[in-house]
């Protein structure tokens, strides 16, 4: 049987994946790159990023400050040499995006503007109004169209990594339109599949953020790193979870409780609205518990107030926020405060990868939100993730291209059998299964509710232990899931089942990793262990899959170079 075959295969068409694909081609123009994405690339969730991309762009700024801000923001769980390399590469990538046409907002002199952002000591967040992710994604996607070496497989869903002799040699993908399973072979594979926000009920993430790449790597034997580190953004719209950008506070917006008080003075007095996300989200929940939140039909909320900024400034720098307020809340943010509450937003944890995206499996790379290269530690600073996608997407692309140019060709023989086995697994497990009776929507919603309750902003031993039990029960129910749709054509119910399978897998690693980390660090706040414990936990958690058992955990020391851990106050 013939397979599509590439030198480098990128899984995921968001900012990291597209950047990786272009970097691979630019590193070696003879490299043939394939890209598999379950959606058209411009639908990828990068599109929803709003505030901007951090980089040292001004003479008064320095690499050292950006590195220190990031490491302190991470609550000292970042690997410091990774951060130090990142801050040097980020400005180059911002310029590269500029050359590719990104409509960065500009200062009056025509230079790329920067704005303040949470946890950053100076202005260093480059932005394209408040649609930075949208513009960056479309810029890099449209730019990718000029490279004939990049071949796309849009709307194809990867169900399995092909591993032969401990080496990754491609993927099995379900072509969504036809229902056909294909083996796509490659000398190297880059996972760039984004986050997993949909394991929670209340999330900023789009429907497609289901942890696919993390689950694929985990099943292939790669450890998932720091999965307990889940970011809750302070300002999501109640009910929908739609993100209200941190740039609203960067541009001077106030966060107010039901007494009209800028309550952050009790939590981050020196930073106020520009404190880091983990601390502000905890502050909001604490205020809610003290009775100082507003009560609404969709739970408690705070006011995010930009009325004092004026219409002109809002229209120039936050036009999308005004549009979201008008369309989704029925308010004009020029005249009305915005209702907001903490919402799952980003996954610091992910596929264990190094500074070049290299994972422990030969030929397998990871970049962007699905990876954990050691940049974000316990808490990512806002606007570091778009830059992360560029810097580490490019690094993985270059490295994968280089590896591919020396790697042995992939032999078709075992691939044929692996494709057959995988297609049979999905067909017999889902499409041909007649005895299923559990409603998929019910399992998914219960998982999301349990994750909100057990692995939210604050955690406890009891809550996490219960969550692990519940997830185990949901896994059993999932074995009896009923698929009503037997069509081969655009079967989104099958797709949702495969995604739910992945989500149940990664949820368990979050819960188990969180239970074991008996301290509070970054986004991981344990009510029963409220202090950071550097003696025991200045370490990354690594979760490995075991058949029919909870994940096995290992720990690995954090790399410290120039910044010794100190108390984290703002």
């Amino acid at each position: 049987m013939d397979f599509e075959s590439y030198d480098v295969l990128v899984v995921g068409g968001g900012l990291a994946g597209l950047r990786a694909a272009i970097a691979a081609v630019e590193a070696n123009p003879r490299v043939r790159v394939g890209m598999v994405s379950k959606v058209y690339p411009m639908r990828s969730h990068t599109v929803s990023a709003e505030g901007g991309a951090a980089a040292v762009m001004r003479p008064e700024d320095s690499y050292e400050t950006h590195a220190f801000d990031t490491i302190k923001g991470s609550d000292y769980l970042a690997d410091q040499e990774v951060v130090e390399a990142f801050v040097r590469e980020a400005p180059v990538e911002i310029i590269q995006m500029e050359h590719w046409g990104c409509p960065w907002s500009r200062d009056p002199d025509g230079k790329i503007s920067v704005r303040p952002f949470g946890g950053m000591t100076t202005w260093r967040t480059c932005f394209a109004a408040d649609k930075s992710g949208f513009h960056m994604l479309h810029t890099v996607f449209q730019t990718s169209l000029k490279y004939p070496q990049i071949a796309r497989h849009d709307e194809a869903f990867v169900t399995k990594l092909l591993i032969e002799d401990s080496r990754c040699v491609g993927v099995v993908a379900l072509d969504i339109r036809t229902g056909r399973f294909d083996a796509i072979t490659a000398k190297s594979v880059i996972l760039a599949t984004g986050g997993l926000g949909r394991v929670y009920a209340f999330t900023t993430n789009g429907n497609i953020c289901t942890g696919d790449g993390m689950a694929l790597a985990y099943r292939a034997g790669v450890g998932l790193k720091d999965m307990e580190m889940v970011q809750f953004h302070p300002t999501g719209l109640p009910f929908t979870g739609i993100l209200i950008t941190e740039a609203v506070r960067g541009e001077g917006g106030y966060l107010l409780n039901n007494e009209g008080e800028r309550f952050l003075k009790r939590y981050v007095p020196n930073k106020m609205e520009l404190g880091p996300r983990d601390i502000i989200s905890r502050a909001m929940i604490t205020e809610f518990e003290a009775g100082r939140g507003f009560d609404g039909p969709h739970g408690k909320y705070m006011h995010l107030d930009v009325r004092h900024l004026g219409e002109k400034m809002i229209d120039r720098k936050l036009p999308f926020m005004r549009e979201l307020g008008r369309e989704f809340v029925g308010i004009d943010i020029v005249k009305d405060p915005i209702p907001v509450r903490p919402v799952q937003h980003y996954m610091m944890g992910g596929v264990d990868a190094d500074i070049s995206g290299v994972t422990p499996i030969l030929g397998l790379y990871a970049a962007g939100e699905c990876a954990n290269v050691g940049l974000n530690g316990g808490n990512r600073l806002g606007s570091n993730s778009l830059s992360e996608c560029l810097v580490f997407g490019a690094a993985a692309g270059r490295h994968a291209a280089q590896y591919a140019s020396t790697a042995k060709p992939v032999s078709a023989n075992p691939v044929d059998a692996m494709l057959w086995d995988e297609a049979r697994r999905v067909e017999s497990g889902y499409l041909e299964k007649k005895d299923g009776h559990e409603r998929m929507g019910a399992i998914r919603e219960e998982m999301q509710r349990e994750m909100d309750a057990g692995a939210g902003v604050f955690r406890t031993k009891e809550g996490l232990a219960k969550l692990i039990r519940q997830l185990g029960g949901l896994r059993e129910r999932f074995e009896r899931v009923k698929i009503e749709d037997s069509s081969r054509t655009f079967n989104t119910e099958l797709l949702a089942a495969l995604e739910l399978d992945f989500m149940l897998e990664v949820s368990q690693t979050i819960a188990v990793s969180a239970l074991a980390r008996e301290e509070s660090r970054g986004a991981h706040a344990r009510r029963d262990f409220p202090e950071r414990d550097d003696a025991k936990f200045l370490q990354h958690t690594l979760a490995f899959r075991r058949e029919s058992a909870r994940p096995r955990l290992e720990y690995r020391d954090v790399h410290i170079t120039n910044f010794q851990p100190q108390a984290r106050t703002y």
Binding site: V47, H99, R106, R177
Partner: protein, 270 residues
Amino acid sequence: MPDKRITIRATRYDPDRDEKPRLQSYDIPFYDESMVVLDALNYIKSDIDGSLSYRWSCRMGICGSCGMMVNGTPKLTCNAFLRDYWPGAITVQPLNNFPLIRDLVIDMDDFMHKLKSIKPWIIRKQELPLGAGEHHQTNEQIDDFRQFSECINCMLCYAACPVYGLNNEFLGPAAIALARRYNLDSRDQGLKQRLPVIGDAEAIWECSFVGECSVVCPKGVDPARSQTSAEGISLAHAGELVDAQAPLLPICGARVHGAAAGDLAAVASL
């Protein structure tokens, strides 16, 4: 509102089984004033009929996946509110003017090819090396192309375009707007490379200036303006036309086509 309900009629079509599309009716609870048509579809899929197929992701009007015909008008279903239709029923159909794959899922390969054909990337005679830093560009220069850069490729304009409905060779509103986005970017020097495509007889000259594309655009892009202006810029840059403004009048596409076809040959040969 404990017992408020609403009727959703959705197109069902499975090419493996059905000869042609049909409408299926679902009666669902309208349990929250904030509910949108996409929430209604998700309710149906999760609680009534798991086989209903449609695309969606961001549910905040930026990814562009969830465009459908809602009571005959192209809309992003993530911001089409049930309260604006209730107590009436809502009919949800796939976007007009596209081949149908399944239920509410259209085939947009044609647009993906057209997008590539307009070379939607910065073209420079000489690339600036990265070490040379950024191009300077003022916010006013960005304003020249800003609105065209806001296109989310949601395809609502193609569904509304009467010309595309008759002739899918027509380049169409979004692709023309995106060509314009690059042509108007002060960093770009690719106009001449794009002219053969946007000046082609099946491109802007087919536009009949109905302006429906601009009416339905959820992002305030004005593709109709891009088409009138694109002609202007292509003709003006050709520098060989005595009366470049004449064809810009919003008149019927056939007349523009007839009047300007010869001139365009000159443009294309630049």
